[in-house]
């Protein structure tokens, strides 16, 4: 707790050795900054200086060096354009426009992306409880819009202008969600593929491609076949999708495979199937169990719908192979495998591949949602406060003296812990009354009055934590955490050919919550081939041919 409370260490300490003059005043990082908040707020951005320089150069009329503005693009986009697109050299004035846009926009890209990546998971979990899907929509949607615009601008210079906005701009932005409104009646808790918009978007891609390539590239059919993947990569990806492609190649391949099947362009499916198969054999696909499970689910959907026979059979083979390898790689009962598909879904959502079920209420609901966000923050602080109070109570729980039992402070701590009381602004508020006043009908004046001072709440939490000191730590208790499942990264474990014989191929993460459940999930009485204990049959689920058993 101590380190969290204290200010950062003084970076100027080493510097002070260079001088013997009394410079404590000048070196004091706190002198002159009369309000810490003000100091934070008025500080220039991280790359303000660099931008100033760039702007000066720009004003002086010199051309900037071409490298910097590609920094924010994924590496594969920073390559020089393929030769067939180089026929239209960019005009100089266009180039300067482009540079200026980058100066003003480029620094924003990482700043915008960070919140999504960092907060998405916890934020998502926080909202899982009340599962109002509409709550999620706005921030993601806005994020996408800005990305869509950026990507469209950045890449249209190298490909055909207009193509980007026509197809993917629509996919990422609101038009798509409006198109999907008709289907949103069936709201399910899990995000769904938006089939209609998906297919429409790809049909648009297809059309645009056909029109553009019709005259000029007809004679280069063969060449086109070869470069079509690269082309798609270069033209049709926004940054979020590109990120998926880099970080989760298997998910990306499965996604693409699925889209080709959906669009009945099965001829293009082969490379993705090939990629998946090679990833499977090289054990790349099963490194991340959750990814592998996602791929299996997708493949199963492909196999279950009408598709060319060879794709179906290859998918089924692939499913089986992945399952076998998964089960061989992660032996039962060895270590719990964290399967968390939420992050995959969130990334897909960020890439514009799924829609959240309630798109059309976004606009009307933006106002109340912001309020809800504001309210959410203090509630988070309240939780922290309640936890601290709980810890404090735990520490004095063995004290049965009358004084401690009758203490008003500890009764307040109890109520804080039980969420009967919470800190609002600079007051302690009964939660029941606060809830009744913060119902939608009466909440408006409360919000406009004064925003909750989260800083106060934070410092209040800090001061309770200080009270935790009333009892010394019993000993140095270094937090012990579960070791990560040990997956040998270098060697590919052998695949047990019979491993699926007794397995539930629709497997999910092994259940470890209780013994009964565990055995219920594992015992397969259908086959008695490998019974080792004939009397009781209790080991019938146990596969004696398994690699881990030998």
């Amino acid at each position: 707790m101590a380190d969290a409370l204290c200010g950062p260490s003084n970076a100027l300490q080493n510097f002070q050795k260079h001088t013997s003059v009394d410079r404590t005043l000048q070196q004091d990082r706190l002198v002159g900054r009369h309000s810490p908040l003000q100091g934070f707020r008025s500080s220039p951005g991280p790359n303000a200086g660099a931008l100033d320089h760039e702007f000066e150069v720009f004003q002086a009329g010199h051309a900037l060096s071409p490298q910097p503005q590609f920094q924010h693009l994924p590496p594969h986009l920073a390559r020089p354009p393929p030769p067939q697109f180089a026929q239209a050299p960019p005009a100089p004035d266009w180039a300067s426009d482009f540079q200026r846009l980058n100066i003003s926009h480029a620094p924003q890209v990482p700043q915008q992306r960070i919140p999504v990546q960092n907060t998405a998971s916890s934020w998502h979990q926080d909202f899982m409880g009340q599962r109002g899907p509409a709550v999620q929509a706005p921030s993601f949607q806005q994020q996408q819009n800005s990305f869509g615009g950026m990507a469209g601008y950045g890449m249209s210079g190298f490909s055909r202008p207009g193509f980007q906005q026509g197809s993917f701009g629509m996919m990422n932005g609101s038009p798509m969600s409006e198109a999907a409104q008709g289907k949103q009646t069936a709201q399910e808790s899990a995000p769904q593929f938006d089939e209609a918009a998906f297919e429409k978007a790809f049909a648009d891609v297809q059309q645009a491609e056909e029109q553009a390539h019709a005259e000029s590239l007809r004679q280069e059919e063969a060449l086109k076949e070869e470069t079509i993947q690269d082309e798609q990569v270069l033209e049709s990806e926004d940054p979020a999708l590109a990120r998926i492609r880099e970080q989760r190649p298997a998910v990306y391949a499965a996604l693409k495979l699925r889209s080709t099947v959906d669009l009945n362009t099965a001829s293009k499916a082969a490379p993705y199937l090939d990629a998946l198969e090679s990833m499977e054999t090289h054990h790349e696909l099963t490194k991340d169990a959750s990814e592998a499970k996602w791929v299996v689910d997708t493949l199963r959907q492909i196999a279950n719908r009408e598709a060319p026979q060879d794709i179906k059979s290859r998918s089924e083979r692939l499913i089986r192979a992945i399952n076998e390898r998964l089960m061989s790689t992660y032996p039962l009962l060895s270590a719990p495998i964290p399967i968390n598909q939420d992050s995959i879904w969130e990334e897909l959502e960020a890439a514009g591949y799924t829609r959240t079920p309630v798109p059309e209420q976004v606009l009307q609901q933006q106002q109340p949602e912001q309020k809800q966000d504001e309210q959410h923050q203090p509630r988070h602080d309240d939780d922290e406060m309640a936890q601290t109070a709980g810890r404090l109570l735990e520490r004095v729980s063995d004290n049965t003296s009358e004084k401690f039992q009758n203490s008003q402070f500890f009764s307040l701590m109890r109520r804080l812990r039980d969420h009967e009381v919470r800190v609002e602004g600079d007051k302690m508020v009964e939660v029941s009354s606060a809830q009744s006043t913060s119902s939608p009908s009466t909440s408006v004046p409360q919000h406009t009055q004064a925003p909750p001072q989260s800083g106060d709440t934070a410092s209040a939490t800090a001061s309770i934590e200080h009270l935790n000191d009333i009892y010394p730590p019993a000993g140095m208790d270094w937090g012990w955490s579960d070791p990560a499942p040990s997956v040998p990264a270098t060697s590919i474990p052998p695949v047990d050919p019979n491993i699926l014989d007794h397995a539930d191929t629709e497997f999910t993460a092994p259940v470890y919550s209780g013994e009964e459940q565990e055995y219920a999930a594992l015992s397969r009485q259908s086959s008695h081939e490998y019974v080792t204990d004939e009397v009781s049959g209790q080991y019938s689920y146990y596969n004696v041919n398994a690699a881990y058993h030998r």
Partner: protein, 354 residues
């Protein structure tokens, strides 16, 4: 025993005036200092008991107060919003001066007892600041890199000050030293070091470092400092022998010790207030005949060191006891205490001593 009720405000600190034997200042905070306002009480001891002569309300909790040594009507407060305020009790409502430099809660203020023209404040932002009441900004900042819960000037030198904080170290600063990389820091004594093992006795048990919450300079022995904190032990150190460990260890409190204060009359007596809701009077065993009569090698408690012992306890507080102070005047032994039970008690420690 006299009693005053600080209705609605939980006491954090109490200080006797150095000019009048009947005037007491109490810094208090609403909601146990978690959130809300603070109030500075100036209490008078009269024939009719303790009465509030004056009070000042502040925006944020008050955690400490100290009387000006130069002006009998002025006193300082340490605020939860990082402010240090100077009040004049002849004026109404508003402070005479307010300094806002600390980035976190200020937890201690102390007036220079010798120089009388400066005072200090210490804060959770990891600094101790030296101020002049006439200057609009601090005149020196001493980084401690730790949450500094307590800081005080030496009563024997205008330029020596000390502080303790959450890293379990007692720091001694000497402002006469040239400013250098050490920022006037001259001594950094680890509080949790066990005393040196003695011949014929078992080595004392080691204790993990815990937060030190309070300390005080002995008023007669100018090199002796008492510290106390989360590990429930009151220790005394001799800063002439910083590596030797504590010269006395006084176990007894059941929870963390929030405040210690040396007697202004007796060189071996100190008073402590603790989260176990008691105030206790101790001797550190340095006075002749005051300590335990036992041989060195026959200590009953392995923690006890230096022959000190608890002389008495006052258990009237019903919540955490947070502040104690001795009266400088009259018969030795009068003291005041405050706590989170919204009460200020004025009592005679001699009645408790055995």
């Amino acid at each position: 025993m006299l009693e005053f009720r600080t209705q609605g405000f939980n006491g954090y600190s109490v200080k006797y005036s150095p000019f009048f034997d009947s005037r007491i200042a109490v810094a208090s905070a609403a909601n146990f200092g978690l959130v809300g306002n603070g109030r500075l009480y100036v209490l008078g001891l009269t024939a009719n008991g303790v009465v509030a002569e004056k009070w000042f309300d502040t925006q944020d909790s008050l955690f400490d107060t100290t009387w000006s040594e130069a002006h009998e009507n002025q006193l300082l407060t340490a605020g939860g919003d990082g402010s240090v305020k100077l009040f004049d009790i002849t004026l109404d409502q508003f402070p005479v001066q307010s300094w806002q430099e600390h980035a976190r809660e200020v937890f201690a203020v102390h007036w220079n007892l010798v120089g009388k023209d400066t005072f200090l404040s210490s804060s959770w932002d990891g600094t101790v600041k030296i101020w002049n009441p006439n200057a609009p900004a601090s005149i020196a900042t001493l980084p401690t890199h730790t949450c500094t819960y307590s800081a005080a000037f030496s009563p024997h030198s205008p330029s020596i000050l000390s502080c303790v904080g959450s890293d379990s170290h007692l720091r001694i600063f000497d402002l006469r030293t040239p400013a250098s990389a050490s920022n006037h820091l001259t001594l950094n004594i680890p509080i949790h070091t066990p005393p040196k093992p003695r011949m014929g006795a078992a080595a004392p048990p080691g204790i993990a470092p815990t937060e030190a919450l309070t300390h005080d300079w002995n008023k007669y022995r100018d090199t002796v400092v008492a510290t106390a904190g989360v590990d429930r032990l009151v220790r005394t150190f001799d800063i002439r022998a910083p590596q030797a460990g504590p010269i006395a260890v006084l176990p007894g409190h059941e929870y963390a010790v929030r405040r210690v204060s040396w007697s202004p009359h007796l060189s071996d007596i100190l008073l402590s207030a603790s989260y176990d809701m008691t105030c206790r009077v101790w001797t550190d065993g340095s006075a002749m005949g005051a300590g335990s009569m036992k041989q060195d090698n026959m200590l009953e408690d392995p923690m006890v060191l230096g022959g000190g012992r608890e002389m008495g306890r006052m258990g009237r507080h019903t919540e955490f006891a947070t502040g104690v102070d001795w009266c400088l005047f009259g018969a030795e032994g009068w003291c005041a205490s405050t706590g989170w039970d919204e009460r200020v008690l004025v009592w005679d420690a001699r009645a408790l001593m055995q």
